[in-house]
Symmetry: C2
Subunit: 146 residues, 2 copies
Amino acid sequence: MNDPEVRLKEMLQKLRERRFRITPQRLAVLKILARSENHPSVDMIYEEVRRDFPTTSLATIYKTVTLLKELGQVLELGFPEGSNRFDGNEPSPHPHMICISCKKIVDPPLDSLSDLTSEAAQKTGFNIVTHRLDFFGICPECQGKN
Amino acid sequence: MNDPEVRLKEMLQKLRERRFRITPQRLAVLKILARSENHPSVDMIYEEVRRDFPTTSLATIYKTVTLLKELGQVLELGFPEGSNRFDGNEPSPHPHMICISCKKIVDPPLDSLSDLTSEAAQKTGFNIVTHRLDFFGICPECQGKN
DNA sequence: CTTCATGCAAAACATTTGCAGCTGG
DNA sequence: CCAGCTGCAAATGTTTTGCATGAAG
């Protein structure tokens, strides 16, 4: 896991570079994303920010994560059947393990897909920009619960 | 590519096994999915079915693809930012190359991910049920168009 | 004939957008 | 100060659902 303090500084740096304002609401979102291991959804972030800033709106959370995504400071994992999840601690593409029971998302320690990516590019002629790899299954905790 | 005729027969077989009715609308959808190489969206299927059965509703297409998915006869590729795409010709999980410009989806000839899957399972303790691997980039045709 | 499928319209749901008023720098 | 942000509510777009009518077997 990356150092949350460092990640927070990097995020703030990117915002300042592009002359975006650091509002209390934004700072709260950044902090949550910088340290999160649990790949929060917009709703989870919203609930947490609300504890400190009860008037915050969902739209602001959406706007903030969208902005951070455009700055390359957060990785969005979109799901059609539910709300999207975000990784601000490690914003580069990497594989995810998703528990279909409790919806937990963890990062497996796997080697990169660079070989597979170049093979795919070479065989299809595509110019590959990014990728996404998700494994779906039952996490150890949920296996016990049956 | 699998033989569309064979795929169609397999699909019909599965429907009959479970005593689902073969309606003209369903048959039209099955045919499109069995032979499609282009991973059609519900809307694309809808437009095509409408040519033969102009009164068909979108809801019926949704119901049919959902049914086929439950029978394991179609693979759904869900996308949060747009409409989902379906592969009825090869319903098992496999990698996809997605053009971010023209939205075309093709199957690259890549070896399976079984090694990576077992490594991920072993390292995390997950019981892996399925997976999804997408590469996003620009297809050869769209590269020319700049 | 009886059960299941169709087609329509309304509902559901996450996300986006328009805009008036507020505020960071 | 004032450009850019917030918060509200309304809009969006895809997919789902309820229900009366129609057709498969």
